[in-house]
């Protein structure tokens, strides 16, 4: 059974638009427009899209905070809105832009209060807190009131708070927003560890695609409220023809452009001293071996495809759903 099932999920908002001096016209806007989503236990799902695409709205519907206009949702087998309180015991949520901690209380007190709110046995709570303290390095600021924490410290606190009741699904809405490089790495490392060792399902929205590349095998891209890609990152690259590149610096330019099977020449730079090949159906080793036979190599580098570029192209399209069934994750 899927942990998350959403079928034709839709959310409409009514906005009043100024039309003339006093007149306002009501307009209905679909923030989420027929999203289908199946997520299995233990999956790590990246859910991305441009601003206003409907990511947060989807997350709010999945967690029971917003009532969908239409469509079917089940999370952990529960209907999120009518069974919100029961669902709350089984999911954890981190909103990067808001805090679920108590502003005036030290982290330690917040964690202790959460134990009572979620009715977690003391030993279970202590064990989880100990692990989070180790992995997220919380000890330096456990007794600092939340209002005095830095953003990075607070986010580590938020993650801990979301996990202390041992949720089956963890929803993360932009957990690395505004964090510095070190804090980002700490958060990513922690989430990666979480994904590797267990069966927690993780749904992550972000604008930082490095988060996704590090953590998620499956990527769902949403734009204008619709799913425009659902599959692995590799499938996304395949679809948009983005390839790993081999950049070769030669001692001397070749008399004519080389033809390597499975690796078409993508570019010639520096008067033929630098050649760029795209790896389509062959490996980097074969290309390097073939080149070494043709010319003296000075340097070789392999460039990973740029996911940002692919996604930017995807965002720009704004067309209907193009669900890539073949690329869908297992």
């Amino acid at each position: 059974m899927s942990v998350i099932e959403a079928r034709y999920l839709r959310k409409e908002f009514t906005v009043r638009v100024k039309a003339g001096r006093l007149r306002r016209v009501k307009r209905t806007v679909a923030a989420v427009d027929g999203v289908d989503l199946l997520v299995e236990r233990g999956e790590m799902l990246g859910y991305i899209g441009p601003n206003g695409a409907g990511k947060s709205t989807t997350l709010k519907m999945l967690t029971g905070v917003l009532t969908p206009t239409s469509g079917e949702v089940r999370v952990c087998g529960l209907r999120p809105v009518p069974e919100r309180t029961r669902l709350a015991l089984r999911i954890g949520v981190v909103f990067g832009q808001r805090s679920q901690l108590w502003w005036d209380l030290p982290l330690r007190d917040s964690f202790d209060l959460l134990r009572h709110v979620y009715r977690v046995p003391a030993d279970a709570h202590a064990a989880r807190l100990r692990r989070c303290r180790d992995l997220l390095d919380l000890d330096g600021f456990l007794d600092t009131p939340v209002r005095q924490l830095s953003l990075g410290q607070r986010m580590r606190g938020e993650l801990t708070a979301a996990l202390l009741h041992g949720p089956e699904v963890l929803f993360l809405d932009e957990p690395t927003i505004g964090l510095d490089v070190v804090s980002k790495q700490a958060v990513r490392g922690f989430l990666g560890e979480l994904g590797r060792v267990g069966d927690t399902t993780l749904v992550l929205t972000t604008h930082d695609l490095a988060d996704i590349e590090r953590l998620c095998r499956r990527l769902v891209v949403i734009d204008h409220g619709r799913v425009v890609h659902d599959g692995t990152i590799a499938a996304l690259h395949d679809r948009y023809g983005s390839r790993r590149l081999v950049v070769a610096d030669l001692d001397a330019a070749l008399p004519e452009p080389p033809e390597l099977p499975g690796a078409p020449l993508r570019g010639v730079e520096a008067d033929g001293h630098r050649l760029v090949f795209a790896l389509e159906s062959t490996g980097a080793a074969e290309v390097v071996a073939a080149l070494a036979g043709l010319a003296t190599l000075r340097d070789i580098s392999i460039v990973e495809p740029d996911i940002e570029e692919v996604v930017a192209r995807l965002y720009g399209r704004g067309e209907g759903p193009l669900v890539d069934a073949s690329g869908a994750a297992p």
Binding site: F13, N51, S56, K60, T63, G64, V65, L66, T67, V81, R84, T85, R86, A88, L89, R90, I91, V93, F95, Q97, R98, S99, Q100, W102, W103, D104, L105, D109, D112, L113, R115, H116, V117, Y118, R119, V120, P121, D123, A124, A127, R128, R131, P145, L163, H165, G166, P167, E168, L194, V197, G198, D199, T200
Partner: protein, 293 residues
């Protein structure tokens, strides 16, 4: 995430930690409620300077109000059924209770609705009305220590006050104050909850401030009003139940039977307010727009 959930480090799964629906669930509920109330106490207790400033203000205004009401009582020595000692108790206990019952300046819920942080409240396994109530009782507990005691201790040093003559008055007064706190919370919650629809709650807030000050017995004891009007206020609005009734119970204006009746009126209003809070909350959630991305 086996290490965070499973055994091995003595950790059972979460679903198993929720007890079956037995009497122990009630105990767990009270434990949760108590923990939230305790955190409310600690949260407010972090603002000590504010508490000192508030207590000083309440005490200073106590002198002003007390001299004013005693002047009204004049040479006759009584007005609207209060003698001088009863008036002094009415004023000084009222000044102390002001911050415990808390009429004004509570916009926590409205602020969280406006910023969308209310989403975090909805993601807890505790009903928002319950958790906000528990927090407010914790707040009232702290106010009982920091704001109730100073005026109540200072007043009798300068004025003759009425002390309860019947033992029944004491438990009735405690119950009456507790009901007033819960009722005040309910009213404030409703005023704040208008933010779900209005986005800006200053309008309802001003109405509430005006009405609660005038009709709760803070500006003047309500028996100063014509009898019919006072009765209409007492039974037709929740305001006298907020302050007038607890103070009337304390100064023993009426027989014990009437005191019990007054507390019952308060109880009725309190239950109604909490039920309305839950209803409003449910309606709000159905149309809720969580602000911000």
């Amino acid at each position: 995430m086996a290490w965070l959930r499973k055994e091995g480090n003595g950790v059972g799964s979460v679903t198993a930690t929720v007890a079956p629906p037995t009497a122990s669930n009630v105990i767990l509920w009270f434990r949760t409620f108590g923990a939230i109330a305790g955190s409310g106490f600690r949260r407010y207790a972090t603002y000590r300077q504010a508490a000192v400033a508030g207590a000083v203000t309440n005490t200073v205004f106590g002198f002003l109000r007390c001299y004013l009401l005693l002047a009204v009582a004049g040479a006759a020595g009584s007005v609207a059924g209060y003698d001088r000692a009863q008036l002094a108790t009415f004023v000084w206990a009222g000044q102390g209770l002001l911050a415990v019952i808390l009429f004004w300046g509570w916009t926590d819920l409205a602020d969280r609705i406006r910023t969308g942080e209310v989403a975090s409240d909805l993601l807890r396994p505790v009903h928002p009305v319950t958790s906000y109530l528990a927090t407010d009782l914790g707040r009232a507990g702290w106010a009982g220590v920091s704001r109730l005691l100073p005026p109540v201790l200072v007043g009798p040093l300068f004025f003759d006050v009425h002390l309860p003559a019947r033992w029944q008055t004491v438990p009735l007064f405690v119950a009456s104050v507790l009901l007033a706190v819960v009722l005040s919370f309910g009213c404030r919650y409703l005023v704040n909850a208008t933010a779900y629809w209005l986005e800006d709650v200053r309008g309802p807030q001003i109405l509430w401030t005006l009405a609660s000050g005038a009709f709760a017995g803070l500006y003047f004891p309500l028996p100063f009003l014509p009898d019919a009007l006072y009765l209409a206020l007492q039974f037709g609005t929740p305001f006298p139940s907020l302050l007038q009734i607890p103070l009337d119970v304390l100064v023993e204006r009426d027989s014990t039977a009437t005191q019990v009746g007054l507390v019952a009126v308060q109880a009725g209003w309190t239950v109604a307010a909490l039920a309305l809070c839950r209803l409003v909350q449910r309606r709000a959630e159905r149309r809720l727009v969580v602000q911000g991305g």
